[in-house]
């Protein structure tokens, strides 16, 4: 980094929130750093204060209870999530998407919460979490609020998060635990790459739902489909919902086409 800042590693959430409330937009929250430090290096982010939240014990919490649901603390890494047995067992879509996120090294640092807070249209965790109706637990000095993920991300790299707030955790209700699911991602190489376009499918109780990344300013969740809905109908609904763009990674035409292809493949794979 050539950009200088001061570093704070509060040991409690209260302390962290106090710092954020003091520094506001001059501060940036550091967890895995796989976006923040890249952005600082590129000059896209120039915080004066970096608040490392990894020393806050409660943000490391990762728990699942069939009654209560899944809690993914802000500092749980993607690899910790993948290694947590209930994920492979009960949240197949998270497992599949997490395994596709970046490289093994990066997954030791990157966090699912960070992936959501970055709010990139191609964040691998976003459409799967949308399918699971995840909620984002946001805390500030004076309040705690829960925001549905679909309302949390408001645009390309924008969220409802205020500079004085921290996402404490992602909460996934137990509703879709054990659901069959799949995740397919278009990449430019077979190795690690951002999702040029990606589709998540979760099947549950006679219906299934589809989430889509990189095909609109925000990750999308389509309305539920009844089991047995013909592929063409699902593809048509998806085509209507997406608004892909042309960029260096792909044309909108091929993005739209591959969304349809992945829907068909996932419906076959998951048996929707």
């Amino acid at each position: 980094m050539t950009h200088e800042f001061s570093y704070h590693a509060p040991g409690s959430l209260d302390e962290a929130l106090a710092l954020l409330s003091e520094y506001g937009e001059k501060a940036a929250v550091l967890s895995g750093g796989t976006d923040l430090l890249v952005n600082i290096r590129a000059g896209l982010s120039r915080p004066e204060y970096v608040i490392d939240i990894k020393k806050i014990p409660e943000l490391k919490a990762l728990s699942y209870d069939p009654e209560d649901g899944l809690h993914i603390g802000a500092c749980v890494t993607v690899n910790e999530l993948l290694e947590y047995e209930p994920i492979a067992e009960s949240f197949a879509v998270l497992y599949a998407a997490g395994a596709e996120l970046a490289t093994h090294q990066l997954r030791h640092r990157a966090t699912p919460v960070g992936n959501i807070v970055t709010a990139s249209p191609c964040g691998d965790m976003s459409s799967p979490l949308l399918c699971l109706e995840a909620e984002v637990v946001i805390v500030s000095q004076n309040s705690t609020r829960r925001v549905a993920l679909r309302e949390f991300i408001t645009g390309v790299k924008t969220t409802v998060l205020a500079p004085t707030e921290i996402v404490k955790e992602i909460f996934v209700p137990p509703t879709y635990a054990g659901a069959q699911a799949g995740y397919q991602k278009l990449k430019r190489i077979k190795g690690h790459d951002l999702g040029v376009v990606a589709v998540a499918l979760v099947k549950h109780n006679g219906s299934f739902r589809i989430g889509i990344n990189s095909a609109a300013p925000t990750p999308l969740l389509l309305p539920d489909f009844a089991a047995g809905t013909p592929v063409e109908e699902v593809q048509k609904a998806a085509a209507k919902a997406i608004s892909p763009i042309d960029d260096v990674r792909c044309t909108k035409e091929y993005r739209a086409f591959m969304v349809g292809v992945y829907i068909e493949r996932l419906m076959k794979e998951v048996g929707a």
Partner: protein, 815 residues
């Protein structure tokens, strides 16, 4: 010339031998320039242009200069120097006008990297943005803006190049053989197509980095991650009008180059910072992003080929027009143009040929040498064209290649007679053919098709390349015997990963008859200590430096024998030696050890003779000529390495997704010196070629901004991108003047890989693609017969993807 040891008796040549540099690199102890810190060293950062073409109205450096810790700030206006390899067209920092996105406009040296960056951010540059010329074919138009209005005033190498003042043409290479128009008249078919490649980046893992200390009395020391210390010194001295004795270039380990570090790069800029900072050493490390646009890339190529073919499938004539996009500066691109021009027809006999190869200036990051030196690019077009011709005339593409392959008695484009010892393209094609089971599908492959629903396609392509180098290319090796009779070789051919030093150690051990453990090749190259070598480029190192090494070993032995003859009171002809001693052949007990001779032989009474044993080997390319500027005739080729790739792919016809199942790469290397090194070059180069075929390439917007200067959007192959199976096969037709019969193979593995992919995809699906890279989307579009996406240079009248099929036989026919 070179006394050869019979193959059966070889102890090191051709045998598996670990790399001499491996342990140092494996332990993390090998030193690269990026690892170096000198005392008092300053750190440099560069301010680069955000525009493709703009007039510099003003540069305000006041705030930067006032920042504590800043030791030097330089801008182009104060630097009256021009640098250039073949055409001296580049300022150290842009003056008056910036000519490409990412061009350096100012630079700072400071106590820390942080201060340097802060100072760079404080420099204000006011630009008047001008309309850039981006596509080479646009740049040829009469009303095109001139990238270099002063082209006529620049120095250039007149023996080889022809810049055209008042145009954007930096060079026009012409070749004329026979009567091509008459050949077209006699042809049964004429087939004309156009093929394009985007610019790509070398991506050495170590970015460009240099430390320069401009000492008292203009004594300059340069440590650089560079391939060619002597060429770097020569160009540096020319630019700064310094005597060569004043400048010392040191090259320690280099983290990859692939041609991108062949010439001169950031060194002059670092040098002026050091000079301005009062002689403190200054270090500049290019960021990965700067590697894409501050440093050069590989040129874009538009290649138009028109071929006349006889009824029985023989090529009668071929007209080849190349538009090389030089970018803003000529650098190596003019020589890429020349070298591609004289081998533009590939390893095939073309009795009547016309080549017009243009190097064209545009407002883009400039092109330089890159592994293959133009041959990767034009073989894409040529080897796609060979398949398209074969399809058009109803012949199997491999059969068409074999029928037209160069063979003993053929004449090359420049009039060179191909001899039996030149090598065998036919053997390469046949080996690739059998390695991939060309022409049929095995039962397993059929079953795989059934299972996956994907279609399998196969292809075999041929390739050739000779070193692109001046006819006077020379090198030398000095071999010194140490006190204990081990030997140390010094040379300034560099080993930046390709492994040549290990092969040279094997040859020296072989020729001396010493165990290889006694042979050291000094890794660091240093123009003050090592003998001259032109450049480490062109796949010529093994041949030229290998010969020089053998000569140095012979010279050392000769010198040792002379002293031994005196010591043993005999004639030199009666002597022989083993690893330890020189002895009289018929009285082996009468001997003197190398250890006794190493620094001079001392008689029992103290009288001494000889002195330190040194062997010198010099080698210069033999019998080459400049090419005639109007006809391209002459002898440019030290040696030709022929090769072929066989490829098997499977494609999803619905989506364009594909997997490369197998690549078999075959090269006629003359003689394998180090099997693992050959294999490493074959597979490593193949994957680099596959990278450019599948995913790499510069993407610009219409203003000439480079949109993907990082690994985020310029992917390179990972381990997952390796084909399921790779095979490396060597053909050995000894090169008469090659060391132990060897010839170079460093670049060849990358050539024609893309065409193999394009042809295999077409064989599987009918997808006709004439542009690179071949992303899934491109394959999908081609299968669907949709308009190709032209996002390398958008909306140019000559889109880089377009290629109208033009096939003529009595009536039009689609190919």
């Amino acid at each position: 010339m070179l006394e050869q040891i019979p193959a059966a008796e070889l102890r090191y040549v051709g045998k598996r031998t670990p790399r001499i540099d491996a342990k140092e690199k494996l332990t993390g102890q090998a030193t690269y320039v990026s690892d170096m810190v000198l005392s008092g060293m300053l750190y440099a950062r560069v301010k680069t242009s955000p525009h493709a073409r703009a007039r510099i109205v003003s540069i305000n450096t006041e705030k930067a200069r006032k920042l504590p810790g800043v030791r030097a700030v330089v801008i182009g206006e104060e630097l009256d120097y021009r640098v250039g390899l073949y055409v001296v067209d580049k300022a150290i920092l842009a003056r008056n006008e910036v000519r490409h996105y990412g061009e350096a406009v100012a630079a700072v040296a400071a106590d820390s990297i942080e201060i340097a960056q802060k100072a760079v951010d404080l420099i204000d540059v006011e630009y008047e943005v001008l309309k850039p010329v981006l596509h080479p074919l646009d740049a040829l138009k009469d009303d095109a803006p001139l990238v270099h209005p002063n082209l006529g005033e620049y120095d250039y190498m007149e023996a080889a190049f022809t810049p055209k003042p008042g145009t954007n043409i930096a060079n026009h290479t012409k070749l004329r053989k026979g009567d091509v128009e008459k050949a077209f008249e006699e042809a049964e078919w004429t087939i004309e197509r156009e093929y394009t490649n985007p610019s790509v980046q070398h991506v050495p893992m170590e970015t460009h980095v240099a430390i320069v200390k401009w000492g008292y009395d203009d004594e300059v020391t340069i440590w650089s991650s560079a391939q060619s210390p002597f060429t770097l010194r020569n160009l540096f001295c020319t630019a700064f009008r310094l005597p060569h004795r004043n400048v010392r270039v040191i090259v320690p380990h280099v983290g990859g180059g692939f041609g991108g570090k062949a010439g001169i790069g950031i060194e002059p800029l670092v040098a002026v910072l050091s000079k301005k900072a009062g002689g403190a050493p200054v270090k500049l490390t290019a960021t990965r992003e700067q590697e894409f646009s501050l440093l050069p890339c590989r040129s874009q190529l538009t290649y138009r080929i028109k071929t006349g073919v006889s009824k029985d499938g023989k090529i009668l004539g071929q007209k080849m027009t190349m538009y090389w996009d030089s970018g803003a500066y000529a650098d190596y691109a003019v020589n890429v143009t020349r070298a591609s021009g004289y081998s533009a027809g590939g390893p095939y006999e073309i009795p009547n040929a016309q080549v017009d190869a243009y190097t064209i200036y545009t407002n883009k990051p400039f092109g330089t040498a890159y592994r293959g030196f133009g041959h990767v690019e034009f073989h894409w077009g040529l080897e796609r064209h060979m398949d398209l011709i074969a399809r058009a005339i109803g012949m199997d593409p491999l059969e068409f290649r074999k029928r037209n392959a160069l063979r003993e008695g053929s004449t090359s484009l420049t009039g060179e007679k191909i001899r039996a010892n030149t090598g065998s393209i036919l053997k390469c094609l046949e080996a690739a053919e059998s390695a991939v089971g060309y022409g049929t599908l095995t039962e397993a492959e059929k079953a795989r098709q059934e299972k996956t629903g994907m279609k399998i396609g196969k292809a075999v392509v041929g390739l050739h390349k000779a070193p692109a180098m001046p006819p006077f290319t020379a090198t030398a090796v000095i071999l010194r015997m140490n006190e204990d009779s081990t030997v140390t070789a010094t040379l300034s051919l560099t080993d930046y990963g390709q492994g040549t030093y290990t092969s040279i150690a094997q040859m020296i051990a072989e020729r001396l008859g010493f165990p290889i453990q006694k042979v050291k090749i000094a890794f660091e190259s240093d123009t003050d200590h090592d003998p001259y070598d032109w450049q480490t480029v062109a796949s010529k190192g093994l041949l030229l430096s290998g010969n020089a090494a053998i000569l140095a070993a012979e010279d050392l032995l000769k010198n040792a024998y002379e002293i031994a003859a005196q010591a043993l009171r005999c004639q030199v002809v009666d002597l022989d030696h083993d690893a330890e001693k020189i002895f009289i052949r018929h009285h082996p007990e009468s001997s003197v050890t190398f250890r006794q001779l190493a620094i001079g032989y001392c008689y029992p009474n103290g009288n001494s003779i000889g002195g330190p044993l040194i062997g010198v080997g010099r080698y210069i390319a033999q019998g080459l000529t400049h090419l005639d500027k109007d006809t391209g005739q002459g002898l440019p080729a030290l040696d030709w390495t022929y090769g072929a790739h066989g490829m098997i792919v499977e494609v999803d016809e619905h989506t364009g997704e594909y997997n490369v199942l197998k690549v078999a790469s075959v090269f006629d290397v003359g003689k394998v010196i180090n099997p693992d090194a050959v294999r490493g070059q074959a597979i490593g180069g193949m994957l680099q070629g596959l990278g450019t075929a599948t995913c790499e390439g510069y993407i610009y917007d219409q203003e000439g901004h480079l949109l993907n200067p990082s690994f985020t959007d310029n992917k390179i192959p990972t381990a997952k991108d390796l084909p399921l199976e790779v095979e490396s096969i060597s053909v050995e037709t000894p090169q008469i003047d090659g060391p132990y019969g060897a010839r170079g193979v460093g670049e060849h593995s990358m050539i024609a890989v893309a065409a193999a992919l394009g042809n295999a995809l077409q064989n599987a699906t009918g997808a006709q693609i004439t542009h690179m890279p071949l992303r899934f989307e491109d394959v999908w579009r081609a299968i669907q017969r949709r308009e190709p996406v032209d996002n390398w240079i958008t909306k140019s009248p000559y889109g880089s993807c377009r290629s109208a099929p033009e096939v003529q036989r009595h009536q039009q026919q689609e190919c």
